[in-house]
Structure formats: structure tokens, C-alpha cells
Symmetry: C2
Subunit: 135 residues, 2 copies
Amino acid sequence: MAYKTRQAQIIFDYIKQNAHSHLTADDIADGVRAQGVSKTTVYRQLERLLNEGKIRKYIPQEGKSACFQYAEETCHSHFHLKCTECNCLFHLECEYLDEIKSHILEHHLFDIDNSRTVFYGLCRNCAEKKKGDTK
Amino acid sequence: MAYKTRQAQIIFDYIKQNAHSHLTADDIADGVRAQGVSKTTVYRQLERLLNEGKIRKYIPQEGKSACFQYAEETCHSHFHLKCTECNCLFHLECEYLDEIKSHILEHHLFDIDNSRTVFYGLCRNCAEKKKGDTK
DNA sequence: TTGCGTGCAAAGGTTTTGCATGGCA
DNA sequence: TGCCATGCAAAACCTTTGCACGCAA
């Protein structure tokens, strides 16, 4: 049903190798262009990988383009914190927070999708920086 | 410093009257066009209202355009649930969940912005519908 | 009268699509 | 060979911007 093409492999490898960072479609296209992969194919593969759950998509509050990141299996079981100031992503593994999901499911009848949910706010560094500002 | 124009008032009123729903810039433009307000002005007013904190902006995971909603004061103190299936927004007021913010701040040194954070997942109706599907 | 807000049209940027070709199975 | 994936270019889409005019203060 799905062919395994050179380009698709290159794109997936690139995202996997940069698993630590958030890449825009443009970033990825830049990274694979030298190997003869077009931007159109990048978009089409991103859509496929997204459906397969192999990557995750983040949509910044401000700014233009969506970011993508390799979806490690372990990421399905925890939440993410995204700093609105420095745009860093933090992985949050914590027993207390696992209870959130079951609490909301039981008391509010809503089944949270951990891998899609991102908490926005200020990370430690940026909060301190802001405090220091002469505002 | 800021003039009070007819168009600005019309736009704000429209958003306020539809406080229960998520409106795209286009929805709003459609709603006020008959009263002689241009889409450009809608965008410019949305930006202003956003900065003033009078409305909130939601960026859907899927789909194109951003959604806006009248920001009721009470919304600053609770979280929101957004169904990825039917796109409904639920307001979540619950003591237990208020603890989330302080827990994450104390234990993970991250200051969550409630008004920006949205939990994505499946609401009751859609979850049941999916269960019923012959998948 | 001053200068911010508006409207139109055009630009800007991201993502999608049509169609012919290329390449996996 | 059959058919999905690719590439190019163009389109579609949302949002922003330049500029002249109108209107609130």
C-alpha cells in the first residue's frame, strides 16, 4: 500500500536525527534539498508521518509556520511544557500529573490526548529574566 | 490615544454577542460586512483586542485559520478542553485542577499560563461515537 | 486641525493541488 | 506492468502592509 522511497527515508531520517529540536517544514526542506528532495514531498511526507503518529506537530501561538518533531514512543505517556518566551519544549514526566488524565476522564468525561496537549507558560529562565526587566 | 470608531465598536459587539463560540477572522468579517466593516479592519481590531486581553486566540491543531473568542474575566482562572473531533470548547472549572498550576510551578519550575493552555482530546459525545464505529 | 483608523488592493508567507513523470513492488 | 510517490509550477489560503482618505477628538 505504501511504497518505501528514497526521499521518504531521507526525510524521516532527518527528522529522527534532529529529534531534540523543533523543525519547520522549511527547515526540513533545507536539510534534505542537497539530497534532491523537493519541498512538496516534505509536506506530503509530513502529513503521512503525522497520521502514522511517527512525528508530532506543534503550532506556535505567535509566528507563522508549524513545527514538527520526531515522536519518541515515550512521549505518548507524558505532557509537554512549552515556554512562550524562548520556545523551548520540556518533557514532563511526573506521577502526579498522570492523575490529571484520569481525573478529567472520570469527573469531566473528557479523554485527553497527551501527545497533543501542550502547556504554555514561562520556563524558569525566562520567568527570572522577566522579573529582572525594568518594566 | 485610541479613537473610538464605529467599526471597532461593531466588531467588539459581534465578538461579545458570540461569546459562546469560536470565531475565525473570516466569520467575524462575514458578520460585520453588512454594516460596512472591511476584513482588514477586523484583523487590525483583533490584534488590538488581543493585546488588550479582551479576546483570546486559539490556534487549532488542524485546519487553517485562528479562532477568536470573547475573553470573559473568569476564563483566566480555569483551563479549557477542546475536542479534536467536533472542535467544541469546554470550560473546566475544578478545584483539583487548580492544583496543577501550583504543582508544576513548585516541582517543575514552570509557570503555566492558564488562558493559553488548552487540553486536546475527545469529548464524551465524540468518544462514544468513535466507539460505535465499525473500525 | 491633528493624526489615528479605515478601506482597497497588493504583497507576503505557508501549505495544497494538478498533472506529467519517475520508480518501487 | 500497475500504481503510488515525486517534482514543478501554479493555485489557494490566511494574514499583513502601503497609501490615501475619512473621521474622532
